[in-house]
Symmetry: C2
Subunit: 525 residues, 2 copies
């Protein structure tokens, strides 16, 4: 089978390759047939040049055209759904239904459509007008965005079609996607539809470019290149921190989603009131996609008592009766086994599971540790075990639970379950403030694995969950603001202003801050 082409500078063309690779079918362990190139710097360089040109054109492109592209792309993904779902299933072992076809793909196309709507409406840019002084400002495109997608969401976080892609494009930037090497064919199919949609909407053909794989050093060189505007990355902390260092050194915005344990605090009243129900919710959340969600609950704090022991026993039983699923790759399986070993070595005891199984599976795993032992090795016991394993910390009392919370690193989410009668209120009041400042999203009485694509979502959080606690990767229009620079126009002549800053509200509905008031009106000329 011929080597698959890269999408660079508006063409599907042969890569300037330094090697090749194939993806593995994690369910069978077999290598998939398509062979993909590992690009050299020459491909990266060409992509950067083409992206810089496309960026110049996109800055002057009306939002209607960008919205049209995003919508057409969504429609095209839906039209080719079966083929795309088949490819993703072969490359990730995630179920075709409901997960890939009924949940993730509609979420992805919905996100593209929300991005189209945000681009059209325009308020994301926070247009701000001081009419008297004729000083006007708004967020504006930043330049080409390099997007690294993760392994665990082949559609919704893909470098092509995922959240970073959608928000970077909607903000007016071209995207250079580095495919995740676990699902190159899925990414290729998505890029084919994106490329066709570019043609239909008249955007520059280099608005979307795709490279499958590069040497790590070239990734760092890309991240630091002056032609690039920003970097979006979802993946491991080790890789993310290297990219961050490269981008930071040259003052380039870099948005990272790295790792998260998503702590869950279950207060005693809640367990007493509805322990069995919480066992169900917790186990379901832990096993969702075999624990391979960014928001999978990896660390749970309980208060030592009989109900806590019943909870642990209940979860153990549920985990043992559920079939472990195939993990995303042999690498994920190996890392999971290694992480569980690290947790054990640091003092956590296995409640159940812990064994690597045939076929890239891992036994559904629960570990436990006392609050005291946790506090003796809080860093190591926060080792992320990505996959179907979770750690319970049993605290002796509120003071110990508070100490555990105070040792937590930044996380995407944090949950507190409390009883509905008010018995847990004092504990909630004591612990919630400690958890609140360590997480991007605080939940009550709900597991963290659902990430609704809504304007109010925060899929972000303090370091090391992400690289900056002020931004979200999910939730429009806020996610667009990552890929933008603030541009002020001081005494600029009216005809030279961008449409969003002219006196006339360009679409009659854009929200703008005019002389201190949010308004959809025109500026009185």
């Amino acid at each position: 089978m011929p080597l698959q082409p890269v999408l660079i500078a508006g063409q599907w063309r042969a890569a300037q390759a330094r090697g090749t690779f194939r993806a593995e079918n994690p369910a069978t362990g077999e290598m998939l047939p398509h062979e993909f190139p590992i690009s050299t710097w020459a491909d990266c360089d060409d992509a950067l040049n083409a992206a810089a040109e496309a960026a110049t054109i996109l800055r002057a492109t009306p939002p209607e055209q960008i919205a049209n592209f995003l919508t057409r792309f969504a429609e095209r993904i839906e039209a080719r759904k079966n083929e795309i779902v088949e490819a993703a299933h072969a490359e990730t072992a995630l179920p075709k239904a409901p997960r890939l076809g009924e949940v993730e793909l509609p979420r992805t196309t919905g996100q593209l459509r929300q991005a189209a709507a945000a681009a059209l409406e325009g308020s994301w840019a926070l247009p701000t007008i001081d009419a008297k002084l004729n000083i006007r400002s708004m967020l504006a495109p930043l330049g080409p965005v390099l997007v690294f997608g993760p392994n665990n969401f082949p559609f919704a976080y893909n470098g092509i079609a995922g959240g970073d892609f959608a928000s970077a494009i909607a903000a007016g930037n071209p995207v250079i996607a580095k495919a995740h090497p676990c699902h190159p064919q899925t990414t290729q199919l998505l890029a084919e539809e994106a490329f066709a949609a570019l043609g239909e909407s008249g955007l520059p053909p280099a608005t979307v470019q795709l490279i499958y794989n590069i040497a790590p050093a070239d990734g760092l060189k890309l991240a630091a290149d002056p032609r690039l505007g920003a970097v979006g990355f979802t993946g491991s902390r080790a890789a993310g921190m290297k990219l961050k260092a490269a981008a930071d050194a040259v003052g380039k915005p870099v948005y990272l989603e790295m790792s998260s344990l998503n702590p869950v605090v279950i207060l005693p009243g809640a367990l007493a009131e509805r322990g069995a129900k919480i066992v169900e919710e917790f186990t379901g959340s832990c096993l969702m996609a075999n624990g391979q969600f960014c928001t999978s609950p990896g660390l749970t704090i309980l208060f030592a008592n009989n109900e806590a022991e019943q909870f642990i026993a209940g979860v153990k039983a549920k985990l043992e009766s559920a079939m472990p699923g195939t993990l995303l790759s042999s690498g994920v399986a190996r890392n999971l086994a290694a992480s569980v070993k690290i947790l054990q070595a640091a003092g956590a005891e296995l409640v159940t599971g812990g064994a690597l199984l045939a076929g890239n599976k891992f036994a559904n795993t629960l570990l436990r540790v006392s609050g005291e032992k946790f506090l003796a090795a809080p860093e190591t016991l926060q080792t992320e075990a990505f996959g179907n394993a979770s750690l319970v910390v049993v605290a002796r009392n509120a003071g110990e639970a508070a100490a555990v919370l105070n040792h937590l690193e930044g996380n995407l989410t944090g949950c507190i379950y409390s009883d509905t009668g008010g018995a847990d209120e004092a504990l909630y009041a004591q612990l919630a403030p400690l958890l609140r400042i360590r997480v991007g999203r605080l939940l009550n009485d709900k597991m963290p694995t659902g990430v609704a694509v809504t304007a109010a979502m925060n899929h972000g959080g303090p370091f090391p969950a992400t690289g900056h606690p002020g931004f979200t990767a999910v939730g429009l229009p806020a996610s667009l603001r990552r890929f933008a620079m603030l541009q002020c126009f001081d005494n600029v002549r009216p005809a030279r202003l961008p449409a969003a800053l002219q006196n006339k509200n360009p679409n009659g509905k854009m929200g703008r801050l005019i002389d201190g008031q949010w308004s959809q009106a025109d500026v009185a000329g």
Copy 2:
């Protein structure tokens, strides 16, 4: 005279000092009488502990109380105006009137009052509510902010009372200020008034802390400390980059304003139409505060012709007839002389000036270089000569001017002067997009040295002017958003939500994004 106390943990107390220093009166070259401590890490450590405690209290403090503090502080500065202006004059040689007393001090108190209004009104936090899903988010305090003020604005950018201070406090964070060692007494007086205002408004006494001077290594250690939420810095690129590296390595938000040449492009039609007027404006802007504004025009692009030569001759005459003023310190004078030498060595010719004079003065200086020579050494010829020196680049044609613009680093501002009859429109259309993406604020027909404190201002820009192009240091409420984390509340029970996210609009006027619409209404319960 006894060693001056630091303000740590709610007390004016003796520093744990590793040494002492005194400021110089730049006009006389004499050391000023007050002796200030250089703090050890022990002082920093105490300040961090106290700030962390204050941060916890401030997160739960109503905005009314924070606004009250900011307003009382402004009033107290005004009540002690004469003494504060005297101190700043002695420490900086800036004129008492109009500059310090009539311009900068009112600007500073005005900024504190705008910050109070922004805190009260609350829209800065972009409260966003999805009522159906009960997911709600807003920006919230980030934790203690370490503020390093610069030498050139003893009030408006002071670590106590300046823009970073006002926005960090208004966003709900305590401040640890590191005074600029050129004006410790000014900073001390401001801190005395801040401290008194804290008491009057009932804020935690460690909301404002002051250290005068520390070892550089302790500054980096502070910036990376986990008790700290963010860093605000205005100063040199060398110092800023070190702080940035320390903060970036631990994922801590750091906002830097470092260096800027503030390029001015004067198109031929404008010179032909009103050359003499532009000479006036340009010279006035260059000499404002002896060129020691962050936005001083340091690099001007002209098109080679007779009018350009007349412009240069006109500026030369003006500069030679103006008395050079005293620079902020002997260090500024030395650096200026060294920078001018670097520019000369890289091919720039002196038109006038270039000499270090007695009394920390420098001859008003203009240099020129051809576009061709500039393009041979574009990095060196962008050496910032902070003070009363400016470089003119004479381009042969539009292509050469475009090439010069394409080699510019990020800047705070960029100006284009064009004729009013339309003769320059084609050139404007060609060059403005190149300048636009390299500057935070684009001006037409206006010099950059005025920085209005208005919501639409951007005092920011691409690296290396700042560390992130999405944020502004001046202009409320936007500047508050630097010192905040995004907090989402998912299914959180109503009574536990922050006031800004409850169904009832807490003040009846806060702008919130409710189910996709900006609104000042309550959420329909």
